[in-house]
Subunit: 407 residues, 2 copies
């Protein structure tokens, strides 16, 4: 009997996990538009000159070596669900018995004017390098003029991504840039804007308060209950109508399922693929949707958060369900095991929450470091990241301040 064919679209945490778990049980082809996986949780450290860009990327073919899984670099253009084929933009047409849709998320602008044109997103190595280049270019521009003008770096969105970005930016400005040219660094300000009443809304209120305090200690201006109405190249109009200067705006306020899902003939609600509790796409039992773009819900009936642990658990789960389907058993509903959340604010500063257990400060920070190293793919990236982190920690420096964006 020939092996079942499985096509997995997307080599992020979910897709790569599913591909490796299925490798011995089916003929698997993994598809991604990049030849590398991006370790998104550490991208903000590339943006803020802490990590080398190459260290948050890992070659997909390296991860798949000796697994028997095939790889094709490309993006899906369409899926024919009756013929069970995927057409890729590289010209390939792949036949499948099962397809796993795992292409992650992209930035959501909620229709706010100017976000798409004028803000920096944080979803790819390219975008991280663009942020780094822009921050450093603003710094160099300020160095040339002695007119007392200032530079306002605004991060919009008080979730973990926004908090980590704002903290790392503040440390960059107050550390390495201050040592580069103190009079200029003191003219750069970091600001974090959140529409809700507190930072890190998914955490306990105490940790939210602590996070705000920690950020303010680093010199970040935190604006809560502040909606954004419009963004331009040089300013932001707030919900109140007030207009504030913003030399550079980084958008960490929202994500949605990758837009490509709209062209793949899938049922979509709230920008995510509608799935059964088994993660099978509604009315398409041969298709599964996992990770950020999956409309899977938790026990409380709410959409699951767009985080790596969900994608990884769903990747493993889907691999098991497809193995079952091949053998003739019925798929079972997926249940997310929430292992807690964490966010780092800066040196010795982080918050961790696991169910009722809460932790803040140096121990939480160590836990964050350890977990991110553990999840980092590939020994070489672990070594490189440890080297960069150790260097940064001991010297209070960030060596990757290079402007490398225009090729």
């Amino acid at each position: 009997m020939p092996q079942s064919r499985v096509v997995i679209l997307g080599a992020g945490f979910g897709g790569l996990t599913a591909a490796k778990s299925l490798a011995k049980h089916a003929q698997v082809t993994l598809v991604d538009r990049h030849n590398f996986q991006t370790f998104l949780p550490l991208l903000y450290q590339v943006s803020t000159a802490g990590l080398a860009a190459d260290h948050v990327a890992y070659p997909v073919r390296g991860a798949l070596r000796d697994s028997g899984v095939g790889f094709s670099m490309g993006s899906p253009v369409s899926i024919d669900h009756s013929k069970k084929t995927v057409t890729l933009d590289n010209g390939q047409v792949l036949d499948f018995d099962y397809v796993v849709i795992a292409m992650g998320s992209s930035t959501a602008d909620f229709g706010i004017k100017g976000v798409a044109e004028f803000t920096y997103a944080m979803k790819s190595v390219h975008e991280a390098l663009a942020i780094r280049a822009s921050v450093m270019r603003h710094f160099e521009d300020l160095c040339r003029v002695d007119d007392g003008s200032s530079c306002e770096l605004t991060v919009v969105g008080g979730g973990p991504t926004g908090v980590e970005m704002a903290g790392a930016l503040a440390e960059l400005v107050r550390g390495p840039l201050k040592r580069d040219l103190e009079t200029v660094a003191s003219r750069m300000h970091v600001r974090l804007i959140e529409a809700g009443s507190r930072l890190l809304p998914s955490f306990d209120q105490k940790l939210s308060d602590r996070t705000k305090l920690d950020l303010e200690k680093l010199g970040v201006e935190v604006l809560l209950n502040t909606a954004v109405q419009e963004v331009t190249r040089s300013d932001i109009t707030l919900g109140s109508g007030e207009r504030i200067q913003s030399s550079m705006t980084i958008w960490a306020a929202g994500v949605k399922g990758a837009p490509v899902i709209h062209s793949l003939d899938l049922p979509i609600e709230r920008e995510r693929v509608v799935v059964e509790p088994t993660l099978q796409v509604k009315d398409l039992p041969h298709a599964f949707a996992i990770g950020d773009l999956s409309g899977s819900v938790g026990v409380n009936g709410q959409l699951l958060p767009m985080v790596a642990p969900v994608a990884i658990q769903q990747g493993k789960w889907v691999a098991r369900q497809i193995q079952g389907l091949i053998k003739g058993t019925r798929p079972e509903p997926f249940i997310y095991k929430d292992k807690g959340s964490m966010a780092t604010i800066g040196r010795h500063k982080a918050v961790v929450q696991v169910n009722n257990f809460k932790l803040a400060g140096p121990l939480a920070w160590l836990a964050w470091l350890w977990l991110h190293l553990f999840y980092l793919l590939g020994g070489r990236n672990k070594i490189g990241t440890i080297a960069d982190w150790t260097w940064n920690y001991l010297t209070f420096d960030r060596a990757n301040r290079h402007i490398i964006d225009e090729l």
Copy 2:
């Protein structure tokens, strides 16, 4: 008495050395179009996925910390030698008493058709990333088609740069890519073309022969006495009129002084700035030209080679001469101390020549490693490079195979 003002154009080996040596003796401003120095001798390792791009770059302001030297990111647009001012493209106009011109070199195409449009150069981090992306993209393209088609990677130029590039490419193809997908890697071929009768013409004939043999052992096809007449996107016309397939052509056949020298009102011959033996520009005693773009000659009357040791020695020399001029002494002629040359071909393979001393093989390779680490700027880059090299050496892998070129 106010300090003399010195403007140094270019933060490469020559310019940065001059700036640091002069820091305590004059008011120095260093100008470069990048905010980082590029370690050119290791760029080919970025091109071939051996080193992270960020590790061959070093922030200029980091190198200048606490030195008192100023930095301006920009390129010179013009020099007014009577008013003693430099105008930069960032709008700044800098006054000087002395100016040092040290902007290095760019690729020379010798008027050969297609070189500018269709070949890859090796003079910047961007170009290195473009080569890496192109090689990896060719590999991915080959993976998709099973028609027996092949990919020919051609390096033109048998000097140290071409030799090192060809060797590293061959190791990439026969090592990591073979492990990624053996049937495809065996369809990728590396070829080195040299117009002269031997590789590494500045070395002893025996080392040239050894280098050719070593490259051939790695699977590189070496074509000597082969001129290039024209390059297109997919082939090369040789001097003989023969046309050979070349999926990708890397140009390492020649360099010339940076073209910007033409707009700075300087005497130019053979694409280099005409200088006195003191490195002062002819008829412009307040201006010095050092490094790759300097028309300085050796004891044999020939132009000095465009290599880092020349630039570094000249940087130090010029700093001393300017100190002397400030004190009222007369500049003296520069004499280059040739400390020898080396080139690496691959794992355990390198050639070293110091006067009459010649060395090839593992010891030469170790000498090469040691010297390049010693010259690498900045502790962080040393650590990162050691980590990457150790990893590559032990695993026979190259982890930086990411296609990161289109921002």
